[in-house]
């Protein structure tokens, strides 16, 4: 037993829609098209369809950002991974994603500005001290002893950060020097003070260079830090209890952790929850 064919719709809109989608027999469609209202509606639907398909392209970077989040979610959803949260990376909530994008752009601009300022300062200093070779040599030796270059007046937050020499132990790239601390609380305060000019979503930025991949021997000293700990939302250099440390703030599953890694020994000297 076969189902009898459905009668064609009587409503002009449904009739036109059925014609467009080829749901009617050719004879029925031809008959329906003789009604000017139906014919007009068919044309309308075809125009609307054409306009609908002219979808604007997705903005640059949207694909990578969405994919990064999706892959993080995939990692988190895998049963074998959930047991070890160090392998998880947080999924940024949508409301923050745009802000993160602006912060990323802002941090690149800040970095570019910092490079220019550093260059100008360096040229100025070199000219002024050109006559005193001994002092200059002494200064250079002192800088090599530090894991990062200390920006003059950077603790006040008024000046842009200064880049560290490439040859520093373990760290392939420079980071902002944020100051000196004796206690964990002081270190947290330094991070908080410097977040506004260095806050970045390095972990989600596919264009950010990975220092570890570039040759850093200690992942805790790279710009991006240890991805297994979460997304790096802050990186800086500091002096902690007299030792040079690289400081990372990792975000994982909505909570943040502050980790300070001794640049000389590549050991974590601070690893505490961090509340901005």
């Amino acid at each position: 037993m076969t189902t009898p064919p459905e009668p064609p719709p009587t409503d002009p809109d449904e009739l036109a829609s059925a014609i467009v989608d080829g749901l009617l027999s050719p004879e029925t469609a031809d008959r329906a098209r003789r009604d000017p209202a139906v014919a007009q509606r068919v044309d309308d639907i075809l125009q609307v369809r054409s306009a609908l398909r002219d979808t604007p392209p997705s903005p640059p970077g949207a694909l990578d950002a969405a994919l990064a989040s999706a892959l993080n979610a995939y990692d988190a959803a895998r049963p074998g991974r959930t047991a070890d949260p160090r392998h998880l990376r947080p999924v940024p909530p949508p409301a923050r994603r745009q802000a993160a994008g602006f912060r990323r752009a802002g941090s690149w601009l800040a970095a570019a500005a910092a490079i220019v300022i550093v260059g100008l300062v360096a040229v100025s200093v070199l000219r002024q001290n050109d006559h005193d070779a001994a002092d200059q040599a002494s200064t250079a030796a002192s800088a090599e002893d530090r894991p990062t270059t200390e920006a003059g007046g950077s603790e006040s937050g008024d000046l842009a950060p200064e880049a560290a020499p490439e040859a520093e132990a373990g760290a392939a790239r420079s980071a902002v020097y944020i100051g000196s601390a004796e206690t964990t609380e002081e270190l947290e305060a330094l991070v908080e003070q410097n977040r506004s000019r260095t806050d970045t979503q390095l972990g989600n930025d596919s264009t950010a260079p990975n220092s570890a991949a570039d040759g850093a021997t200690c992942i805790g000293l790279s710009d991006q830090g240890d991805p297994a700990r979460g997304t790096t939302v802050f990186v800086g250099d500091a002096e902690y209890q007299g030792k040079a440390v690289r400081v990372h703030v990792y975000e994982l599953a909505g909570t943040q952790h502050l980790v300070a890694t001794d640049t000389a020994s590549c050991t974590d000297v601070v690893d505490v929850p961090f509340t901005p």
Partner: protein, 186 residues
């Protein structure tokens, strides 16, 4: 067919833990998910977030894909729900629309193509959600009625009716206000 087979292979690898397969699969289907979310959202900013949520939902749910539908149909269902959820969440927050910004910030005439996009976005925004989704799935995503019924969990008659109503709404909002007997839909 090649894409279907490839999708199956990628899904198999993804479920087995191959992150690269997930990446490849999502990249492959990104444009159509973006298109769906862009049209549902009506502006780029909301569409970006909605697309991200959709990809997250797909990535999280890969292990639940049972192969009864094609991956395309299944992913449209997941993406549609994720997009709509995200848009409903955002609707509770007052955010100026792209149209508002463009009109207020720059009164100079817009290029025709952008004007048309704004027109279609504005027209879509006037269409009730249940009709809008059906039209977008049919006219943008090219999904068959039966699959739309599967995506939206609706019987075929309701799908047909919603598509017709949605198209009529759009035509009216885009400048062809023909009289139509607006009956309640099932």
């Amino acid at each position: 067919m090649v894409q279907f087979t490839d999708d199956q292979r990628l899904i198999g690898s993804a479920v087995a833990g191959d992150r690269t397969a997930v990446d490849t699969l999502l990249r492959r289907h990104y444009d159509r998910i973006w298109g769906l979310c862009r049209r549902l959202a009506g502006n780029d900013a909301d569409a970006q977030d909605a697309t991200q949520e959709a990809l997250i939902a797909i990535a999280r749910g890969l292990h639940r894909f049972d192969g009864r539908a094609t991956f395309t149909t299944w992913s449209y269902r997941v993406a549609t729900n994720a997009c709509l959820d995200e848009l409903r969440r955002r609707a509770r927050r007052p955010i100026p629309s792209a149209t508002d910004e463009l009109v207020l910030v720059d009164p100079t005439p817009l290029p025709d193509q952008i004007t048309e996009r704004l027109d279609i976005d504005a027209a879509l925004a006037q269409v009730p959600e249940e009709f809008r989704v059906a039209v977008i799935l049919r006219d943008l995503c090219d999904i068959e009625y039966a699959d739309i019924g599967e995506v939206l969990n609706l019987p075929p008659g309701t799908v047909r009716s919603r598509i017709a109503r949605g198209r009529a709404h759009l035509a009216r909002h885009l400048g062809n206000p023909q009289p139509s007997t607006d009956r309640p839909t099932p």
